[in-house]
């Protein structure tokens, strides 16, 4: 791996395969760890059905409860911006779509690259602001441990390396692209072992919350 091109070839080849295997197996294990625990049957006579209430909460929790929004506006708005920005950068940037198409044969329309560029810039700035908030807000600072900062780093790295590669700010380009792909691989490897797993388990959590409340006749 003596030249930037060798480096790029490695991260695109074996490096990516390793990351993908760790990610997929890790996520499956984590989901099984949750689901095999199951829960005991509930003998209390239900007032409402679990299924509908669970599914409704799955959707409705996407919007904040009014009072929470008033009390944590920065967390809510910042959270929206960077999550949406991250997904736009990941899934609507045309080179990414082409890569996905070449790998698994799925394709969808993307948006103009300069628009993705602007979104990425906003996302990076927002993530920096979120870090500042985590370090300064008394509750977030109190709750935060190494994992919270590690996941922040591995989340922002693909954004930054992608931004630098797009603007040709690292020379030579194969090195820029290689670093970008490597940062994504780091994210994939860290993902199953940290709170990043919430991207999958929040479906389960919201469903249980809504179902258990719905059984008692409350929409949570």
């Amino acid at each position: 791996m003596s030249t930037p091109v060798d480096f790029l070839l490695w991260v695109r080849g074996p490096g990516f395969d390793i990351a993908l295997v760790v990610f997929l197996i890790g996520v499956v294990i984590r989901l099984l760890e949750v689901l095999i625990l199951g829960r005991k049957p509930d003998f209390a006579e239900p007032r409402g059905a679990e299924l509908g209430a669970g599914l409704r909460t799955l959707v409705t929790r996407t919007l904040p409860e009014q009072g929470s929004f008033r009390r944590s506006p920065f967390t809510v708005v910042g959270g929206y911006i960077w999550h949406i920005g991250f997904f736009i950068s990941l899934f609507l940037f045309i080179p990414h779509i082409e890569l996905i198409n070449a790998t698994i044969g799925l394709s969808w329309p993307g948006i103009a690259s300069n628009l993705v560029d602007a979104v990425a810039a906003v996302t990076i700035v927002t993530l920096v602001a979120m870090l500042f908030s985590r370090m300064s807000h008394p509750v977030k600072r109190y709750l935060s441990g190494p994992e919270d900062y590690l996941t922040w780093v591995v989340t922002i790295l693909p954004m930054i390396t992608g931004y630098l590669a797009y603007h040709r700010m690292i020379d030579p380009y194969p090195l820029a692209l290689g670093l970008h792909i490597l940062s994504v691989e780091i994210l994939m490897v860290v993902f199953p072992f940290t709170k990043l797993m919430h991207a999958f388990t929040f479906f389960i959590a919201r469903w249980y919350n809504g179902a258990m409340a719905g059984r008692r006749g409350v929409q949570s």
């Binding site: 984590r30 760890e33 625990l37 509930d42 209390a44 709170k195 919350n209 949570s220």
Partner: protein, 423 residues
């Protein structure tokens, strides 16, 4: 109960672990939004009261024993174990600083039902010997005497006699084959006997057949509050045995929040089977009588008043519409608080906090939340439907020198009953 040890506590934590709890811990991103839903944080500003933080001991058990990565970290000595010191430190957070009100569970963006986890985590704390003296005492009295306040049947019999003499009505005791068996809380027996009289008057008018059991009249369940399923099961079982012996169709849960959670939602799971009777909350029954025209009231209370939603009855119990339907029958100037219904704020004394003497200062401090809600409304009367909320709010109002009487909804309705003409 056998001796409490850390090992027993750890086993109790493990017994609680299930898919909902694992999905909740897996999903938390430490966003801190639950803090803003908790009156212990909003009124103290101390981040240790952030709801999810109160679960650190249970979270460690989950991470270290129920995740692959956590097990690896433990083997490498990279994780912090659950110790006696940790439980001792967290005891005040999970008991003094949480009323199990469930407000945090309504706002968590990833959907974590945090109060559900706290209810389960308390099982481990009790088994390890870390629970407040006041709550231990209440549990002991409930098991040995039959009531957390030490009220025995003769005390109830005396109150029944008083009520019968005052009202000229009869209170049926141990009558077999009637439709309803009414439960009471010790608080109602000792401090608010008006409730019993209200029941007698309303049921007479509506033609409801009912009884009180001399063997199981106590509705409260200290086991649920302290978090001991063994104690909770024993107490629920007394009610089940009595109700099935008297062959009633329904058991009425009184104006008490956690009693409803205990008998309605947790009871069947504690005894491991469905009941042979149904459980109704008194407000549900009254609303049914209203809807079918059997509850007739006259006159309207014209004072400006509001309703405090008891957490366990409304948010955690699902009795949402009945209180307001009933209030509208008798109050013309009813106004709702800001954040009413399932988002109402706790009185600060639920979940056993009011039975925990050392938590008194904190409880009065967090009552500021209710004070703020009331200040916004400028009401003359506060109505509620839980004897514990009622007493806690009376103390809070006194502390803050607010002269607002607190009234039980059932009694308020009884005061407006259409008087029957004697023949």
């Amino acid at each position: 109960m056998s001796e409490a040890t850390l090992e027993r506590g750890m086993n109790a934590f493990r017994e609680q672990m299930n898919a909902p709890i694992a999905s909740f811990f897996s999903s938390c991103v430490n966003c801190g939004m639950c803090a803003e839903a908790c009156l212990f944080y909003t009124e103290t500003g101390d981040p240790k009261y952030t709801p999810i933080n109160k679960l650190e001991p249970l979270r460690r058990v989950w991470e270290q024993e129920y995740t692959l990565w956590g097990r690896v970290k433990s083997m490498l000595g990279l994780s912090q174990p659950v110790t006696d010191e940790l439980l001792e430190e967290w005891e005040s957070l999970i008991y003094d600083g949480c009323t199990l009100c469930g407000r945090c569970s309504m706002v968590c963006p990833v959907g974590n039902d945090i109060s559900y986890m706290i209810r389960h985590a308390r099982e481990g704390f009790v088994a390890a010997g870390y629970s407040p003296e006041g709550m231990k005492g209440a549990s002991r009295r409930a098991v040995t005497i039959g009531s957390p306040m030490g009220v025995k049947y003769p005390a109830l019999a005396a109150q029944i006699k008083h009520v019968e003499a005052d009202s000229g009505l009869s209170i049926p005791v141990d009558v077999e084959g009637v439709d309803y068996m009414a439960l009471l809380s010790s608080m109602e027996i000792m401090n608010f006997p008006e409730y019993l009289e209200a029941l007698a008057r309303i049921f007479k008018q509506a033609g409801v057949t009912w009884t009180v059991s001399s063997e199981a009249f106590e509705a409260t369940n200290a086991g649920i509050q302290i978090g001991s399923s063994d104690i909770a099961r024993e107490l629920v079982n007394r009610v089940v045995v009595a109700a099935e012996k008297l062959k009633v169709k329904y058991v009425i849960s009184p104006e008490c929040g956690h009693a409803y959670t205990a008998i309605r939602w947790e009871g069947p799971n504690l005894i491991g089977r469905p009941y042979k009777f149904k459980v109704v909350h008194i407000l549900e029954l009254l609303d049914e009588l209203r809807a079918s025209g059997r509850l007739k009231t006259e006159g309207m209370d014209e004072t400006r008043l509001t309703f405090h939603d008891p957490c366990q009855i409304v948010r955690k119990g699902g009795v949402l519409e009945p209180p307001r339907n009933l209030l509208k029958m008798v109050a013309s100037e009813f106004v709702d608080m800001h954040d009413a219904r399932e988002m109402n704020w706790c009185c600060g004394g639920g979940g056993g906090v009011s039975a925990n003497e050392r938590a008194e200062e904190l409880r009065l401090k967090v009552f500021k939340r209710k004070k703020t809600q009331l200040d916004e409304l400028d009401v003359e009367t506060l109505v509620t439907a839980c004897a514990n909320c009622r007493l806690v709010m009376e103390e809070g109002l006194e502390e803050y020198r607010m002269e607002i009487p607190v009234v039980g909804l059932t009694e308020m309705l009884a005061e407006h009953l259409v008087e029957e003409k004697s023949e």
